[in-house]
Amino acid sequence: MNLTSKDYVEYIKMISKRYEGCGDYITSLDAATGDGDHWTNINSGFLKLVEIADELEALSISDMMKKIGMTLMSAVGGSSGVLYGSAYLAAAKAAKESETITIDVLKDIYQAMLDAIMQRGNVQPNQKTMIDAIYPAVQALKISIADGFDEKEILVKMKDAALEGAQATKQMEAFRGRACYQADKGVGHLDPGAVTMSYQIETFVQYILTK
């Protein structure tokens, strides 16, 4: 793989479409354990990105990531705005020298995103947050690169890990965010942020594989 800014923006459009279609479901997840606005937050953020698609396309990978980060941070608000914002700003730093996104650049970008979210959110894996989708994905990505799988296999493993990770949040207790004020710490409910994060990764992989 070897993605340009234009490719990445196509992916952004694809994930935004996907979000548009799953409003009731994601809202119901956040209404069950949080305040119900996660879908509105994330959907409005990506719509905003689609609006500025032309501008984004014209930027270098790093500048595009930075612009995405700043845009999400101010358009989304709440917890996920600042977390996605921090993640993309960190990705911009990681991609400083990259002209395109290769599989190795992707690894650096996702690792940077993961670290930024964990640091900003002060969370560990298994605490019922979006980390529980991206953390296993990054692990799968790193291991399968090291193990020498081919790109398609690597991407599928990464995607599967993200989806499984999101599903696993159902049994977890929340330590951060609104769900931790629930008497049952949200046990029995999926974490909305983990689900939308897993969609990000799944759609990204689908985009590359069907390109």
């Binding site: 809202t27 209404a31 305040d35 119900g36 606005d37 509105t40 937050n41 941070m73 101010s74 358009a75 989304v76 608000g77 709440g78 917890s79 705005g81 600042v82 977390l83 914002g85 921090s86 900003r120 959110g121 002060n122 605490q127 929340a174 330590f175 951060r176 965010g177 609104r178 931790c180 004020y181 629930q182 008497a183």
Partner: protein, 331 residues
């Protein structure tokens, strides 16, 4: 969900315009969700903020002797770092800015992100985190306690300290002390509806109440049958005192008391509760130095109340008594 409003998506912007039109001492930084004092003064700046829906918190506390700016997000949604940065800029006279944050991870993340950016602009900023709700177990591991009505006392204390000319470090120190000395707890008689969700966070029967709920429509630690005011006073105050005793003696203590309405509860009921709370405290030989009864930190149209105690020493008393010109906390 019946509201006096126009387009729901404009409600916060129109509210902030309405606030600025009601109070000539503040300006509204449009598009930034910031209400700031018009007069800039040569002292440590104090800002606070968070999701909207808690009015008069936080914009009603902007004024001489209290906040220099309030940063307002959407309903129950933390404002983004850019907005908070604007609040910092508005409040900064070069002596630095103290941010008063309620302990929600969304607020914490957005405020500290803004702080990181402010530092890149060579601004001095620091923060305190208010976590006064004793309904939730405190914890260093998870987010722990929520910040609720006690936050208003921290605004007042920090505001007075800054007004008196203290440095950022000193203001933070005094605000931290106030945070250590504040405990709150509440009960709800009905929930509230977050416009985005469209249904209440919990549902109560005609004879039920929710104990220890937060101020965003999230459920509390448990339901019970509706109790009398005397019983409610005992439930809330005994829990608060117990929690104080874990870290500080309340024997012969002097306190400031806040009986806070959550939005839809008539003042009549808050005064009845005040009568019971004060009797309870008198029996415990705790002296009430000053009492505040009213809607200070609300949750949209929720009905119910919270009780807050701030244990006082001489410095905190002085800060509490200092003049203040904020529309909703005039001294």
């Amino acid at each position: 969900m019946k509201k006096i409003m126009n387009q729901p998506e404009n409600i916060i912007d129109e509210m902030l315009k309405g606030i600025a039109k009601a109070n000539k001492d503040v300006i509204y930084c449009e598009g930034k969700g910031v209400i700031a004092r018009r007069e800039k003064s040569d002292k440590v700046g104090i800002i606070s903020g968070g999701g909207s829906g808690h009015e008069p918190a936080h914009a009603g506390y902007v004024g001489k002797g209290m906040l220099d700016a309030a940063v307002c997000g959407n309903v129950f949604s933390s404002p983004d770092p850019e907005r908070i940065l604007e609040g910092i800029r508005q409040a900064d006279s070069g002596k630095g800015v103290l941010m008063i944050i309620k302990n929600y991870s969304g607020d914490y993340m957005n405020f500290t992100m803004a702080l990181d950016i402010a530092e890149l602009e060579d601004r001095k900023a620091n923060y305190v985190i208010v976590k006064d709700d004793v309904a939730v177990e405190d914890s260093t591991f998870s987010t722990g306690r929520r910040g609720i009505a006690g936050t208003v006392f921290v605004h007042k204390i920090a505001g007075a300290k800054a007004q008196a000319g203290a440095s950022l470090t000193e203001v933070k120190e005094t605000a931290e002390k106030a945070v250590q000395y504040i405990r709150s707890m509440g009960v709800a008689l009905s929930s509230c509806i977050i416009p985005a969700v469209g249904k209440p966070g919990f549902v109560l029967n005609e004879n039920e109440m929710e104990i220890g709920m937060g101020i965003h429509g999230e459920p509390g630690v448990g339901k019970s049958e509706l109790k009398t005011s005397t019983e409610i006073a005992e439930i809330l105050v005994s829990r608060i005192l117990e929690d104080f005793e874990k870290s500080t003696s309340m024997e012969e203590a002097e306190v400031a008391l806040m009986i806070n309405g959550l939005g839809a509860t008539p003042l009549m009921e808050l005064y009845v509760l005040n009568n019971d709370v004060q009797e309870y405290l008198e029996n415990k030989k705790i002296k009430v130095y000053k009492t505040f009864v009213g809607n200070y930190m609300t949750a949209l149209e929720m009905s119910g109340c919270s009780v807050t105690l701030l244990k006082l020493d001489d410095e905190l008393k002085e800060c509490l008594d200092a003049p203040c010109n904020a529309p909703n906390f005039k001294v």
